[in-house]
Amino acid sequence: MRYNLLILILLSVVLPCKAIEKEATQFNSVNSSHLFTIGSRSTWDSYLSPSSYKGTNLGYLYDQMKLSEAHKHISYQSLFRIDLSKMENKAGNGEMWSGFLTYRWGAHYRWQIDPSLQLLGGALMGGTIGGLYNIRNSNNPAQAKINLGLSLSGIALYKVRIGNYPIHFRYQINLPTVGFTFSPHYGQSYYEIFTLGNDKGVYLVSSPHNLFELENMFSAEIPFNCVTLRLGFSNTYLRSTIHQLETQINCNSFFIGFVKEGLFFSGKKRIKPAGYHSPVY
């Protein structure tokens, strides 16, 4: 009895190790980019003003992609973005600020069209929270923007060699489809919603019929001796008509940053591949 128990314990230890060994033969690295964006933003929000505002946008974008260990045609992506803008009206005597935080996570299916071109299609969950702040307004100074839901996403990866430089071009488009959004009614104050508690109809389902969003990102990755630069252009566009309130926000930014590709180990499941030397593990 004691002998059988010992074998059982041994098997329970050895079998998972075998499984890990089998999995460990293939390591999928993580590709992550830290990017700094600068560009222009134009905003028109009829709750705040009938005039459009334009100004400078500064931001940070983190983009991470990782191949699935379970399926070689699947990859995961995380996108995190912070944007801050200062804008002014055409007359130059009105100021508006905006701040947005975007996070999307999801998966893509990958098609290898030929050795140079891959096309990815999938979906991302997440959204944007933030708001607009018009300094001159008294009881309607701000408009919150909360758009959460599911986006369709497509990526094209193209690699080309120019001289000694293997350059990777990347184009991504995200199209939010259905989700939830927030909007006060036409002449409703935030005081009525949050202090008096009349929040009927302010949280509602969004789809392109009332809220159309589009994110485009085009970039090129250029490797140098010790760093891979990624530079490109990004456009985010939002147009909504909810409760007869209209919003149009357009942001065009150039970005530059660096790309890292590597293996990450952490937690109890960490795997140390052969030939890898860690200063800690």
Binding site: S49, R136, N140, P141, S189, Y191, F233
Partner: protein, 341 residues
Amino acid sequence: MKAFRFNHLITLLVLVLSLCSCDKEDEFNNTPSGNMEALWQIIDEHYCFLDAKKINWDSVHTAFMPRVKNVTSQEALLHLMDEMLDILQDGHVNVAASFNIARYWEWFEAYPENFDEKIQKNYLKTDYYISGGIKYTILDDNIGYIYYSSFQDQTGEFNMDHILYRLALCRGIIVDIRNNGGGELTNVQNIAASFTDSKVLTGYVSHKTGKGHSDFSEPYAKYLYPRSSGTYNYYKQVVVLTNRNCYSAANEFVNTMMQLPNVTIMGDQTGGGSGFPFSSELPNGWTVRFSSSLSLSPEMKQIEYGINPDVRVSMTKEDEEKGLDTIIETARDSIHNHYLH
């Protein structure tokens, strides 16, 4: 083949980016007529009292737009806008330029002031207390006197605790809000809640739901809630003093207080201003303020043009010459008489 595909990708990219890079263009130009049209449209689509005040806003357009061609200066343009907006008879409607503010102040300028700060000093004297935005003292006949000049001045539960602790043994309290032009509605709740021990319906709010003059939401009930236990409340006689210069949040305070059984409103009619003002702007950057949603009494009646007091009292010349405030004196008598009957 590769180049062909790559070209297709670039074409697609340019197409998508050009589709979404179009910015919204402003509807009106920064010209006298563009600014005037913009102002007319803001009121047409957003102002909440056009139907209630039976104003034919289209005829206003017909009357005023031809006059814009005679405008030759910024001041003349603001003057014309002022004239057009006066039709609304609303103190919440303004156009603010850098050199002047177009305004309608007839709701108090056309009436007796019924308040004299110099005479008020005879009651406050010099040793009065101040908590938050409230000045307070105990009068010689053991009546508490509170003066609150602006609902912009933050006054919270903590301030009311201190005030009512000191006035707890008074026979009654006079809450004087004469010349209070309004401010924040949260202060209305903070102060009024000290005088009730139960939830009270104080009125309704209704906001515009669209551009049409009669597009309004279902009225939404507003309540005054008693303060949490452990705080100082006052349930004896309270007299609220009013004049024509009580506007906006002060008007709402009177509407709230008059729903309480132990409260008497005394003085002159309030100035009104039941609209909740929003801001907008013209193409030249001038700020426009207008009433966007309205507040109704518990009987669902308009209080835009003011609230009548329970006891109408005006300051008399004779009393003023003696340094007496007729309205304060009548309020004192009213509190004392309450205990006699």
